[in-house]
């Protein structure tokens, strides 16, 4: 049988003196040893795997994140790399590491000992409906819509939708001042992402010091107690600083 070509899949960058062991990773049914590729005090955590495109299915995504979790358990300065990057050989990874080293050098002290946590706040349907029913202008517009045929009421429906959007905008502002602001005071940095879906009122990531993790958890709990009849909290972590590292590598097409 023809021997399959292999490539180097990379998971994350770390700051290290070397000699790290992060075990094996199972990829599509086969165990592969992970290893590091070092340049100065930086290293890439990688594995040698069959050279092919890996699809972002559940197993593969969890495999990638699983390795990063293991690394985070042993190393306090982890720079996450997005899913699915595989290089021809170790020399290419070394060249990459060398070329982005200036950025890594700058990032290391900023993320050392820090973790990311995520908080999504989603409005409960019953609370949202009860809340909007107290807006007289919206209820009046709802009656207008109901009184007309579907075709005749088209613009009235659009108007009603705009009112609903403004309603959500107000709720988002309330959540930002009442939930996000107090948390942000405990965080080193914050990142507000766009809400996913209409009922989401906050989609935030916070970079916190590991020493502050307990205090931050306590604050989230305090805010959850206050809001739990109105909204659901989805609180996740610890993550590596995905939302706080943005190195986009893209370059000129190779010209020949």
């Amino acid at each position: 049988m023809e021997q399959q070509e292999t490539g180097i899949y990379i998971f994350c960058g770390i700051q290290t003196d070397g000699d790290d062991q992060f075990g094996t990773v199972e990829l599509e049914g086969t165990e592969h040893e992970t290893f590091t590729i070092q340049y100065k005090d930086a290293a890439m955590v990688a594995a040698e795997v069959p050279m092919k495109i890996y699809h972002p299915n559940k197993t593969n995504l969890m495999m990638h994140q699983g390795v990063i979790s293991t690394v985070m358990g042993k190393c306090d300065t982890v720079i996450p790399i997005s899913f699915g990057n595989i290089f021809q050989n170790k020399q290419d990874v070394e060249a990459l590491l060398e070329s982005i080293y200036p950025q890594l050098e700058e990032l290391f002290p900023q993320i050392k000992g820090k973790i990311e946590v995520g908080l999504k706040v989603v409005g409960k349907k019953e609370w949202l409906e009860k809340n909007i029913s107290q807006h007289d202008d919206v209820m009046k517009q709802k009656k207008v819509v109901q009184s007309k045929s579907e075709a005749a009421g088209y613009f009235d429906r659009i108007q009603l939708g705009e009112m609903a959007k403004n309603f959500f905008g107000q709720l988002q502002a309330d959540v930002e001042s009442d939930i996000h602001q107090p948390l942000n005071e405990l965080a080193e940095a914050d990142k507000l992402n766009d809400p996913i879906g209409e009922k989401m009122l906050l989609n935030a990531a916070y970079l916190i010091d590991r020493d502050q993790e307990e205090a931050f958890d306590a604050k989230v709990n305090e805010l959850h107690d206050k809001w739990q009849d109105k909204v659901d909290f989805k609180y996740t972590g610890p993550w590596p600083a995905y939302n706080f590292i943005n190195i986009q590598l893209k370059v000129e097409q190779e010209t020949s």
């Binding site: 990057n85 659009i158 959007k165 209409e198 739990q228």
Partner: protein, 86 residues
């Protein structure tokens, strides 16, 4: 009632939210500016359908329940009323 952080590995949605386009991202069709590097990368951008319409906000609070919810909202407004398409 205490709320605990769910760990990073237990939620696929949270993982997807991060690992596809955050951190160090290497462009699919570009070569890093170091001679000789060949890289394969998956075209793995999540395409979030443009659901950001006002009508969907209205649906989210049940304002349009009577006439629309049973059949679900149309994919786009203009599928329903093509004469008003923008």
């Amino acid at each position: 009632m205490a709320i605990e952080k769910t760990t990073d590995s237990s939620s696929l949605a949270e993982v997807i939210d991060r690992i596809l386009d955050k951190g160090i991202v290497i462009d699919a069709y570009a070569r890093v500016s170091v001679v000789g590097i060949e890289i394969l990368t998956v075209e793995a951008r999540v395409v979030i359908a443009s659901v950001d319409t006002w009508l969907r906000y209205a649906e989210a609070v049940g304002l349009l329940r009577d006439d629309i919810e049973e059949e679900g909202l149309p994919q786009q407004q203009n599928e329903r009323s093509p004469q008003f398409s923008i």
